[in-house]
């Protein structure tokens, strides 16, 4: 147990913690904003369309992949813009792991570079190939 604390955080990971905090907050705000814009655009046009999620039919192929979503956004499709917000949200923790890899590398902590790289690979695998 140690005393004088308020002046400086004794963590060796202090700088990394601050960066991760900023990244997480930014990721959530940006993706919520994109989702909101896409949602307003969608409802302005399709607000009176029927909505039912009672039976599962699966999303169209264009909304299932990163490439498909980006193509839809470029065509100006509101539904693809919402999905882009979702993708940005999924990307936020992935970016957090990437920043951790860099942060641990700066601290020359190779064991934790390896840990975070392994997690990063698993996440890329999931997003790119669908498991």
């Amino acid at each position: 147990m140690s005393g004088d604390s308020r002046l400086g955080n004794p963590h060796e990971d202090y700088a990394l913690e601050q960066r991760l905090g900023t990244l997480l907050r930014g990721g959530v705000i940006v993706s919520a904003g994109v989702t909101l814009i896409g949602g307003i655009m969608y409802l302005a046009v399709h607000g009176s369309a029927p909505a039912s999620y009672h039976t599962f039919s699966g999303e169209p192929a264009t909304l299932r992949t990163v490439g498909g979503v980006i193509a839809g956004v470029l065509r100006g499709e509101s539904i693809a813009i919402i999905q882009l917000g979702v993708l940005l949200l999924i990307a936020t923790p992935i970016a957090r792991v990437l920043i951790s890899v860099i942060g641990f590398a700066r601290e020359r902590d190779w064991m934790y570079v390896a840990c975070s790289l392994l997690v990063l690979l698993l996440l890329f695998f999931s997003l790119a190939h669908g498991g």
Binding site: H11, E17, A32, V86, L87, F104, L122, G131
Partner: protein
């Protein structure tokens, strides 16, 4: 029902789920899936997809503050995320073979367990890392702020914690929840980390765990943008309001009320699952 009506209803429900999640400390997912399936008749796969996205949003939002304040142990988080991501990927494989009814039953059991955990008395641990153990080799000991002091803590039983995290990953993917209850159990009860470190590190890990299965479910078409939009925005607003309220209101009676709601939802999920209505 029209898309606009449905969106507004979902938004209101998600706001409530976010509020309950923040006030009970359980996160939104555990209330959101029953709300969408039982309340709005959404297919459980769509509900799981939407819930996972919300779980990423709320955990990242809250983690941003905790990690800066120095409560979160990012090394423990990073190490245990190996277990939760592998578990989550396995969970997505299992999900293809488990029926909706069986999912509802498992959900009911987890919900019941979560309700019980939210009423449990908290014990504050300060463990000492024994030299030569896995915890020592991985340098998992750290410090955290208590008032204006900095307190050192160690870690015990790392392999048990790792195994529980693997389970947490499987449940997270199967049910579309953050599995915060199991994560806290692993760190607080098994690894004997201080409670505040356990909850904040759990929250920190939830985003990565959920992202692992969300990627797979995106490919399977579980993530519907029109459903996800009000759910995410509602839960985020609810969680933010809840965090503000938490500082002002007396939490105990609210927690009792929400625990009662969770028990009712758990029984309903069990009933619907066992009678094959879901």
């Amino acid at each position: 029902m029209h898309a606009l009506t449905f969106t507004l209803l979902t938004l209101a429900g998600a706001l409530l789920a976010g509020l309950v999640g923040a006030l009970t400390g359980l996160g939104g997912g555990v209330v959101l899936v029953p709300l969408l399936t039982l309340g709005l008749g959404v297919d459980i796969r769509y509900a799981i997809g939407a819930s996972l996205v919300c779980v990423i949003a709320t955990s990242s939002g809250a983690a941003a503050a905790f990690v800066r304040e120095g409560f979160t142990n990012i090394r423990i988080g990073m190490f245990l995320e190996i277990a939760t991501t592998v578990g989550a990927l396995l969970g997505t494989v299992l999900a293809a073979y488990v029926s909706s009814s069986a999912l509802a039953v498992i959900f009911g059991i987890v919900l019941m367990f979560s309700a019980a955990q939210s009423m449990r008395q908290r014990v504050e641990h300060i463990a000492v890392t024994e030299p030569g153990t896995l915890g020592a080799r991985l340098r998992l000991s750290s410090t955290y702020p208590v008032g204006d002091r900095v307190v050192s803590y160690g870690v015990e039983h790392v392999p048990t914690g790792f195994g529980l995290m693997f389970m947490a990953g499987i449940l997270s993917a199967l049910l579309g929840i953050g599995s915060g209850v199991v994560k806290v159990l692993a760190m607080d009860r098994a690894m004997h980390l201080p409670y505040k470190v356990s909850t904040t590190t759990s929250n920190f890990m939830i985003g990565v765990t959920a992202a692992a299965s969300a990627g797979v479910y995106l490919h399977r078409g579980y993530i519907d943008p029109v459903l996800v939009m009000p759910v995410v925005l509602g839960v985020l607003t609810g969680a933010t309001l809840g965090a503000r309220l938490l500082a002002r209101v007396h939490v105990k009676p609210l927690r009792m009320l929400f625990t009662a709601i969770m028990v009712v939802l758990a029984l309903e999920m069990l009933y619907q699952g066992l009678t094959k209505r879901i």
